[in-house]
Amino acid sequence: MRPGKRHRVLPGFPLALGYTLFYLALIVLIPLSAVFLKSATLNWEQFWSTVSAPRVVASYRVTFGTALLAAAINGVFGLIFAWVLVRYSFPGKRVVDALVDLPFALPTAVAGIALTAIYAGNGWLGQWLEPLGVKVAFTPLGILIALTFIGLPFVVRTVQPVLEDLDTELEEAAVSLGADRWQTFRHIVLPALLPALLTGFALAFARAVGEYGSVIFIAGNVPMVSEITPLLIISKLEQFDYAGATAIAVVMLVVSFVLLFLINGLQIWTNRSRER
């Protein structure tokens, strides 16, 4: 830690920090606390019966299950993407690199209707898949597709810079000690990439858990089968069941906070292993 209060050379610290805290309190903290205070108006039994109702539990299974699977798919393909973008040159590479961020920039509702149009029974891919017995749209598989789309850039963009900075000397040393390419990757490269890979995985998972726009069009929203938790919050709100919506929101927020905490730890780990 460098200068204490008296040694600050640059001006504007009280103003900048004060405004930052004021704004965050107004926009983020007070509204978030409203959710927790509202849920405190429920007693424990009411809260528990809301968040453990069979339909709600089924929605957790759909939401967390598909989010986990999508994050895992992104872990594998994101790593391949990052690898290909850093280590190889091929025609069209710049376009591919730029378009990896498309899921960040494309509004979720647009992604949702586009994916539905592709995988519906009469869609570009759906018309070939359905005769094979693979129904994608309006099933959990559709949710998986949407969440995979949403999560891809998180893994690529966290792994890519680490892979670029990776010192080639380690790989050279491994080769000179007689390791083959796979052994080098498995024991030298992969451990070095692991913190970033896990960070990307966690970011993709966190985003997928809360995702709404891209999912609701393709999910079909069948209760107990393909209904995601955020949608249940909305349907409770539409029935003016504010307390019920809030109870489920509290569960989602707690999960988000745990994930955020985890991601923070992972990021610190990533930065440390990069500095080494």
Binding site: L17, A34, R87, F104, F149, T168, V175, P230, L259, N264
Partner: protein, 297 residues
């Protein structure tokens, strides 16, 4: 998000491909490229192409008719208006937060950056719910708002609040790593030369961060115009009044008016593409600045 805009564009794959120790057999290389490109085509290119193909399926006349319809025009206007309020608010916040976090050391800094990131991990639906609980008819301030005849939920202010919340981190997250990497020597030199706070910001800091700032603004704007879940909760979907473009897309789609839904969606997709082009340009400029700085020293 991906953090600093500086590094990862100019990629020196050449040094890996010519080094025997960091090279895979040709068939492995070809296989990996093929897998990546197949995944790219399936998950990124195909959805993007679908938006434009579906939008133009019934021809340009239908396309333009869908976009010039009164409801579509009011959705476009509302979207622009909401973004025009939300983005500047987060711009001022982002600069203030980055100045505090990147140029000073203080206790609780890590906590503050986590707090700035918080909206990223809150589900947009929960974000909308928060404001309903505060300002809805049954909310904390609901009765007071009703008495004073001021609507926030199911009206424009609610849309702005929800949009501001989901886009809080964008500009700050872009600026913090950039300003941290640049250090504070330039600004400290300006202080020694007698510059005032605003002079330092306008003449020293801003020129250094302008490209990162621009990208942050563009990204924030793309998300602000495209936000769906949070605004869906607070909007009330009043046609012609509280429908932003993404909400209008949903309504058209649910009415099986696919051509019109994709026509409006195609405007949002163009915005996304523009965002990516700006990002590429910004990264290219960032690289140039970096190598110019390296040559200068």
């Amino acid at each position: 998000m991906s953090g600093a805009v500086v590094s990862h564009w100019v990629v020196h794959s050449h040094r890996f491909e010519t080094n025997a120790a960091t090279r895979e057999p040709a068939w492995v290389k070809r296989l990996l490229i093929a897998i990546a490109l197949a995944f790219f085509a399936l998950f990124l290119l195909l959805p993007l192409a679908t938006v434009f193909a579906e939008a133009l399926r019934r021809g340009w006349v239908v396309y333009f008719a869908a976009l010039t319809e009164p409801d579509a025009r009011s959705a476009i206007k509302l979207t622009l208006l909401v973004a025009a309020i939300a983005v500047p608010l987060n711009l001022v916040f982002g600069v203030a937060a980055a100045w505090a976090v990147a140029k000073f050391n203080f206790r609780g800094k890590q906590l503050l950056t986590t707090l700035i990131d918080l909206p990223f991990s809150v589900s947009p639906v929960v974000a909308g719910l928060m404001y309903v609980l505060l300002f809805g008819s049954q909310g904390w301030f609901g009765a007071w708002l009703l008495q004073n005849d001021f609507k926030i939920i199911f009206a424009m202010p609610g849309l702005v609040l929800a949009t501001v919340f989901v886009t809080v981190p964008f500009i700050a997250r872009e600026l913090i790593p950039l300003m941290e990497a640049q250090g504070r020597e330039d600004e400290e030199a300006a202080v020694v030369l007698g510059a005032s706070g605003w002079q330092i910001f306008w003449h020293v800091t801003l020129p250094n961060i302008k490209w990162g700032l621009l990208y942050g603004v563009i990204l924030c704007n793309a998300r602000a115009m495209g936000e769906f879940g949070a605004v869906s909760v607070v909007s009330g979907h009043i046609r012609g009044r509280t429908n932003t473009m993404p909400l209008y897309v949903e309504i058209l789609y649910n009415e099986y008016n696919f051509a019109a839904a994709f026509a409006v969606a195609s405007l949002l997709a163009l915005l996304a593409l523009l965002t990516l082009v700006v990002k590429s340009v910004v990264e290219w400029r960032g690289q140039q600045q970096l190598s110019a700085d390296q040559e200068a020293t």
